[in-house]
């Protein structure tokens, strides 16, 4: 197979038919190019959406309360449901489907932040230490709220980067005290979120918030992470179970969406990824279809080639060429054309997607494009290898029929003089 002579034979025929070889190769290159572009775009879209999900843990779930809308066990509708600290303990201790739990107490009204002469009104969130992991809070300096802060209801605050900027300017905020209304809080960390420039959220321990702002044991919302599951149905059943538990504690119908609202990200995530899986399959079908068109082209050209070379093949057979050597000749030529052309298509396709990726990265680094649902639109190594294997196999397939035809050439018929 790696006989120099065989390759010389093949190259001499390819050289003789440059245009035809180019056109044939082009159809294959185009097929694989389109496959790469489609796959890359699909990946880009998927990565973009994944990125959106990645703002939080994918298995996060939020719960909030409202007024009941369905009468339950003799109780009238329109009752206000309220979470409390006991619910936190219940979720934390009793439910084995849950991993992390953080409760939040909404601070009443607008809180005025003051540092020296600077002041402003900003949003404040109260939470448990677990929220850092659940909502992927990033810190530029200092630390997040810890268990000690929570247990001792310490007056500590993690400032949002833009709040820090507004109050402290160029000054280092860590260890300084900010007044929330009239209460001084010690700054322990600064959080930063590139995606939410206008989200001016600072964090204080939920226990502190309840104590200072007269919250008693009132909790407004819960953020929890559920255990990782693989199907949307499992995720939904976890949601149902959590709702069931809370419904029992607060006496409302588990189906009552107004009494208690909930959103399970994992179920949405799984559903969305399923859509992308479907898109991927679709893309492969289209890509393979395009590729098949190219391969049929190659097969067609090879058939013509064999027909044109019937006499030559006849001569070769008369001189002692075995059917196997004739098949090798045609098959290798077909594989050569498809592989080289396909490889070029692969390179160009991957190159363009990498170029787009580079442009995107530049844009993101420069601070723009956060609204673009498109990230890392590239094709991975395995896919590229798979495509190459498909190419070689399809080259062999494209060559097989013509090769068999060539091997069946009868020297007497090929050499018959037409006179």
């Amino acid at each position: 197979m790696f006989d120099v002579d065989v390759w010389q034979e093949i190259f001499s025929t390819i050289k003789k038919n440059k245009l035809r070889t180019f056109l044939t190769g082009f159809s294959v290159a185009w097929g694989i190019f389109m496959l790469m572009i489609l796959l890359g775009s699909g990946n880009g879209l998927q990565n973009g959406v994944k990125e959106q999900f990645a703002e939080n843990s994918v298995n996060i779930m939020w719960m909030w309360t409202g007024d009941t809308s369905i009468p339950y066990q003799g109780l009238k509708e329109g009752r206000t449901i309220k979470f409390n600290n006991a619910d936190y303990n219940f979720l934390k201790e009793k439910d084995e489907d849950l991993e992390l739990v953080s409760s939040r107490y909404y601070l009443p009204g607008n809180i005025m932040y003051t540092y020296k002469n600077e002041y402003g009104s900003f949003e404040t969130s109260s939470c448990h230490p677990a929220l850092k992991e659940m909502e992927k809070v990033k810190l530029t300096s200092g630390r997040f709220i810890n268990d000690l802060d929570l247990n001792e209801s310490r007056k500590v605050i993690v400032l949002a980067e833009n709040v820090r900027k507004a109050l402290f300017k160029e000054e280092d905020a860590i260890g300084k005290y900010v007044k929330l209304n009239t209460v001084p809080f010690k700054v322990i960390g600064v959080s930063f979120d590139a995606k939410r420039r206008d989200g001016r959220t600072s964090y204080i321990p939920v226990s502190t918030a309840q104590r200072i702002f007269n919250g008693a044991d009132r909790v407004h919302t819960f953020a929890i992470t559920t255990k990782m599951v693989n199907t949307a149905e499992e995720a939904d059943s976890i949601t149902a179970k959590v709702r069931q538990g809370m419904a029992q504690r607060h006496k409302f119908d588990p189906k009552d969406k107004r009494a208690m609202g909930s959103f399970n990200m994992l179920a949405e995530y799984i559903r969305t990824m399923k859509i992308f899986q479907a898109i991927k399959i679709f893309v492969w079908i289209i890509g393979i279809g395009t590729l098949i068109a190219g391969i049929v082209g190659v097969s067609n050209i090879m058939l013509i080639l064999v027909k044109e070379r019937t006499r030559e093949i006849g001569i070769r057979k008369a001189l002692g060429a075995s059917p196997a050597s004739v098949i090798t000749l045609v098959l290798l030529e077909s594989i050569l054309i498809t592989t080289i052309a396909g490889y070029i298509g692969l390179l160009v396709g991957v190159g363009i997607m990498e170029g787009i990726n580079y442009g995107l990265e530049q844009m993101l680094a420069a601070g723009g494009g956060e609204r673009i649902f498109f990230r890392n639109p590239t094709v991975d190594f395995t896919t590229a290898i798979t495509s190459m294997v498909i190419l070689v196999v399809s080259g062999a397939l494209a060559g097989y029929l013509p090769a068999r035809k060539a091997a069946n050439v009868k020297p007497i018929e090929a050499l018959r003089d037409e006179n």
Binding site: V4, D5, S12, T13, K16, R311, E312, G314, I315, R316, K317, A318, L319, G320, A321, S322, P323, A324, S325, A407, K410, P411, I412, L415, D417, N419
Partner: protein
């Protein structure tokens, strides 16, 4: 060298079958120079194809160099052709995109002789036929006579036991024809069995034995001594 007895061959022509060779018997000794003649339809091409193992036959036996040639698969047939038979065709059948040397070397390629070695041998053979300077030329750059000489060199390079020539002078003018026949004569004088198929009497007359076919059997065999008589008879016909 060649023993053929009771050879039958028919071709399917649609629903009919065309019986071409009808129990043909033929014996050719080593070192003979034979021409096979006959009008079209006499079966001479069919006989040549069978002799050249390009076609199979239906009944009878065919021994080539003591070896029974029967029911060979394609690979075996190709090997036997390569080793035992040198072909010369009317239309030369050189491969157009290969130069003279590569054309001559082709049979050795199928014997897996290394490129360098077979090209060297090919040059020797071209030299013998006075074509050394033309070794690098493509067939399209050669004259008819030169092409046929390249083809003869190609037929000889694998040192076959018989040379089969199908109308070797059919596409050549008479001067070149005689030149080619002289070369074939030389080859025969060196002890090689040469069989040519022709319909030209003067070409046939240059061989040492003429076999005339008619309706699928041998009509007559004219040996060396009778050739003079044959020539006269042709002239009167």
């Amino acid at each position: 060298m060649i023993q053929i007895s009771n050879l039958h061959k028919s071709y399917a022509m649609g629903s009919n079958s065309l019986h071409v060779l009808k129990g043909l018997n033929l014996e050719i000794e080593e070192g003979e120079f034979v021409s096979i003649m006959g009008s079209s339809g006499s079966g001479k091409s069919t006989l040549l194809n069978i002799l050249g193992i390009l076609d199979d036959y239906d009944r009878g036996t065919y021994y080539l160099g003591g070896k029974l040639i029967q029911g060979l698969n394609e690979t075996k047939a190709a090997m036997t052709r390569n080793e035992m038979i040198g072909f010369i065709f009317q239309s030369f059948n050189l491969i157009s995109f290969k130069n003279a040397m590569e054309n001559v070397a082709l049979p050795l390629y199928y014997q897996k002789v290394s490129r360098k070695k077979r090209n060297q041998i090919a040059l020797e053979y071209l030299d013998r036929l006075g074509l050394k300077e033309w070794a690098g030329h493509l067939p399209s750059e050669l004259s008819g006579g030169q092409k046929q000489r390249v083809a003869i060199a190609r037929a000889l390079i694998s040192k076959p036991q018989i040379i089969l020539a199908d109308e070797p002078t059919g596409a050549l003018d008479s001067a070149t024809s005689f030149e080619v026949m002289d070369i074939l004569k030389d080859i025969n004088n060196q002890g090689k069995t040469v069989i040519i198929v022709t319909h030209e009497h003067d070409i046939a007359a240059m061989t040492k034995k003429i076999i005339r076919l008619k309706d699928g059997v041998i009509e007559e065999v004219i040996k060396n001594g009778d050739l003079q008589l044959f020539k006269e008879r042709i002239l009167t016909e």
